[in-house]
């Protein structure tokens, strides 16, 4: 995973600690307290630091005595370390935030979380919280990105049906489609699994992917990079937050919210049972849901929030017909993680999709 955001300009009171040998994929960033230190908040997350930084700054402004330690990891690696900490009842973080919401639900289902007990919870829609322990913080759509130059003539596909038709009609998309490697990416697997339950288009879609030699990648940013430089014409099921914030600075790409339906994912956070600084973790979550937090998340990161998301997304895309389907935080997500189910689903995927060429 490329971490160009974390490696950007350094800030005061910021140190990047090299990842320890035990977990090569994780990066630990520490924001020292701005006043005399009275506490430490440890956040473990799969979200790129650049996306979270404005929120952390706002938090430290409100709580100058609290230093923030930000552990960033890939979803699978984070899931493994959080799971083992939960099983061993040891401390890992005060707050775990991840876009792998199925894993988050599994951890909460396994009793790893504690009740958040915040008065901000009732304001959240039902689908964006579970048991008062897991709450959705963002509102990120699964979008298609396209290379504007490639679709200059006829315009880009507006729905999955358009995409399926395009893939069938011409060979123009052969080798020009990029999407998540769902075996490696938690978010990619989740979107694919939801697609398979949402509509019958899924079967035809992956058949088309196979015929057109789809290229698969671990991360949204890789897909967007390919589409931007023209190696791919279209990227399927890319996280909207990344796509929208990139599209604003990059004229080469456009973003489509498929109008048959648009999956929406709420990055979910919970406070682990073994958290040390529950008050700070709760304050951080409450900040994210507060009007100030909403303004930050709606801002340039385009993470949005479950409260402001539908309106903001419709405004950003300029598309009124989008049919948003938020993925609810419920134990039904556990089905996607069932070992047997996963094996079957992935083998079906593999059968249809040719592995990407190196």
């Amino acid at each position: 995973m490329i971490r160009y955001f974390t490696l950007l300009a350094s800030f005061i009171a910021l140190t990047v600690i090299p990842a320890d040998t035990a977990n090569a994929s994780e990066t630990i960033t520490r924001f020292e307290a701005q006043a005399s230190q009275s506490g430490d908040l440890v956040i473990a997350s799969v979200t790129d630091l650049a996306f979270m930084r404005p929120l952390i700054f706002a938090f430290q402004q409100a709580n100058p005595g609290v230093s923030v330690t930000y552990i960033e990891d890939t979803s699978n690696s984070l899931d493994a370390s959080v799971s083992s900490a939960c099983m061993g009842r040891t401390f890992l973080a005060d707050l775990v935030i991840s876009s792998s919401i199925a894993q988050q639900v599994r951890l909460v289902n396994g009793g790893c979380a504690r009740e958040i007990e915040s008065s901000a919870l009732p304001s959240l829609p039902d689908w964006a919280q579970w048991r008062g322990e897991l709450i959705g913080l963002t509102y990120e759509a699964a979008v298609m990105v396209y290379n504007k130059a490639a679709f200059a003539d006829n315009g880009p596909p507006r729905s999955r049906f358009d995409l399926i038709d395009l893939m069938r009609q011409s060979g123009s998309l052969n080798g020009r489609i990029a999407t998540y490697d769902i075996e490696e990416s938690g978010v990619g697997y989740l979107f694919a699994f939801q697609d398979s339950t949402e509509a019958s288009t899924w079967g035809r879609l992956i058949e088309g992917f196979g015929r057109n030699s789809v290229a698969t990648f671990c991360c949204s940013s890789d897909v967007i990079d390919r589409v931007a430089d023209g190696r791919a014409h279209i990227g399927y099921n890319v996280l909207g937050s990344y796509a929208l914030s990139r599209a604003e600075n990059d004229d080469r790409i456009g973003v489509i919210l498929p109008n048959d339906y648009t999956l929406v994912l709420a990055r979910a956070g919970y406070i682990p049972r073994e958290a040390r600084n529950v008050a700070a973790a709760r304050a951080f979550l409450e900040l994210a849901l507060s009007p100030q937090g909403r303004a930050i998340l709606d801002g340039e990161t385009r993470l949005l929030t479950p409260l402001s998301g539908p309106d903001a997304l419709a405004r950003l895309s300029g598309d009124d017909e989008a049919a948003f389907r938020p993925i609810p935080l419920t134990p039904a997500l556990l089905v996607s993680l069932d070992q047997a189910k996963r094996v079957r689903f992935l083998s079906q995927w593999r059968k249809s999709v040719t592995p990407p060429m190196p």
């Binding site: 289902n109 396994g110 039902d126 048991r131 039904a332 556990l334 089905v335 069932d338 189910k341």
Partner: protein, 473 residues
């Protein structure tokens, strides 16, 4: 145990309305508590049943999707099963599928199995991952060429939704009970107010009455207080009679006293102007006779008043009439003029229920009457009659009364005008005493001359059972 008397006296001293309110509140509270207990148990059962159906449904859906493909057992957990369980939106879900060989095919490998054996679906309570859970074990038998034997499906769920539902049921029941109880109490108090309104009407009727008005109440009353009103009416009738008797008596007495006293004064004045010693002597004798008459009249008036008073106020006791006769004779002898009275008493006690003083007065008056109007010898006789009655009578050798006197016997001031010493009250007292003892005056003219006046009263029912205090023996 100290509480009981003070409590009961506290209840006793309050109004009926207060008592009813207390009892109704108590009963309603007991009923409400019972309902709440029932609701608690019902709420638990209802919630358990409702969510057990979800569990069973989910297990059935999962079991249905177990198949054998190419010699392998394939478990395809259906999304709908979890959708079903997610209806209990706040609850954690666990599952475990075990193959015929005992190996966990998928799910939580450490989820506990029930102790009981058997193939029927079994719902059981256990704990997992730090929380109490409700689980179902269901078996499905595979009979394929490659896989044979039972597949065990276990689905479990935490209890949050169950207890929420149970609490909601109970909370609603409690609210319902409180509302129903309040309404019932209010209606009961209203009903009580209406039911007790006749009492208030009677109270108002009594208060509104003129103090001198002693006529019976004509207010219509419910049956329950009829007895009370009847008792009040009886009491008032008695009071009315007493007051009437008193007024009559006072009027009569005033009239009766005035005449002899006027005569006495006139004779005294005559005596003061008389110089002739012989005439003066006559006048003095007359004055003395008159004074004696007034004295006796006063005595009898008081006696009569006393006897009348006792008739209403004295509790009756067992008395031997022989003793009454003996005492009356002794008293008469002491006051003088009663020498030569004989007593004729039977050997056995003659027990009656009555007032000793009144009977003695009656006997004394019988003697006085016989001495005043009859001829000696006078015999005071006590006997029992054939009709189960007792007789006490004075017998003399006089001619007795003429029919006119017999007709007026017992009336007040029915005196013999020729006899200035008679107050005309003696037999009235006797009659009063007889009536008070449920008896009557009896007069007998003897065949061998003589005349007898007495009273007949009922014998006491069981003389043997008495304390013997009044016994002559």
């Amino acid at each position: 145990m100290n509480m009981a008397p003070s409590l009961s006296s506290a209840i006793g001293s309050r109004s009926i309305a207060w008592r009813l309110t207390l009892l109704l509140t108590l009963l309603l509270t007991i009923a409400a508590a019972g309902t709440v207990v029932a609701a608690l148990s019902y709420g638990q059962t209802a919630a358990t049943r409702a969510f057990d159906r979800l569990l069973t449904g989910a297990a059935l859906q999962i079991a249905e999707r177990i198949s054998v493909v190419e010699g392998e057992t394939v478990v395809d957990i259906p999304l709908s099963a979890f959708g079903l369980l997610s209806l209990a939106s706040e609850d954690r879900i666990f599952y475990r599928i075990i193959g015929p060989d005992g190996a966990t095919l998928t799910g939580d490998e450490s989820f506990p199995l029930p102790d009981a054996k058997g193939d029927a679906p079994l719902l059981y309570d256990t704990a997992f991952s730090g929380e109490a859970v409700r689980a179902i074990r269901m078996r499905r038998f595979l009979a394929e060429r490659a896989v044979r034997g039972p597949i065990t499906v276990i689905v479990a769920q935490t209890l949050r939704a169950r207890s929420e539902l149970a609490n909601e049921i109970v909370a609603r029941a409690v609210i319902g009970v409180i509302i129903a109880g309040g309404v019932t109490l209010a209606l009961a108090l209203l009903a009580m107010h209406l039911a007790l309104s006749p009492l208030r009407r009677i109270e108002r009727a009594i208060l509104a009455r003129d103090p001198k008005d002693l006529t019976p109440f004509s207010t219509s009353t419910p049956r329950e207080v009829e007895a009370l009103v009847a008792a009040i009416n009886r009491f008032m009738a008695r009071l009315d009679k007493r007051v009437g008797a008193m007024q009559d008596f006072v009027a009569d007495a005033a009239h009766q006293m005035r005449t002899p006293i006027t005569a006495l004064r006139a004779q005294t004045e005559l005596a003061m102007e008389e110089d002739d010693p012989r005439k003066l002597k006559t006048l003095q004798r007359r004055i003395r006779d008159r004074a004696l008459g007034v004295s006796r009249l006063t005595d009898q008036l008081l006696s009569h008043a006393l006897v009348t008073h006792r008739a209403d106020s004295v509790t009756l006791e067992q008395i031997d009439l022989r003793r009454v006769a003996v005492e009356a004779e002794r008293e008469a002898r002491r006051t003088g003029g009663a020498e030569g009275i004989e007593l004729d008493l039977p050997a056995d006690p003659v027990m009656v229920t009555g007032d000793a003083f009144s009977l003695r007065e009656a006997a004394r008056n019988l003697i006085t009457n016989a001495l005043a109007h009859g001829k000696p010898p006078v015999v005071l006789r006590v006997s029992t009659t054939t009709g189960g009655k007792a007789l006490i009578a004075a017998h003399d050798q006089g001619a007795g009364m003429n029919p006119d006197q017999l007709q007026r016997i017992g009336q007040r001031f029915a005196r013999d005008a020729s006899n200035p010493q008679s107050a005309g009250l003696g037999l009235a007292i006797v009659a009063e005493v007889a009536e008070f003892h449920q008896g009557s005056i009896q007069t007998t003219s003897g065949s061998n001359g003589g005349f007898e006046v007495g009273i007949v009263v009922p014998l006491a029912a069981a003389p043997a059972a008495t304390s013997g205090k009044g016994d002559a023996a």
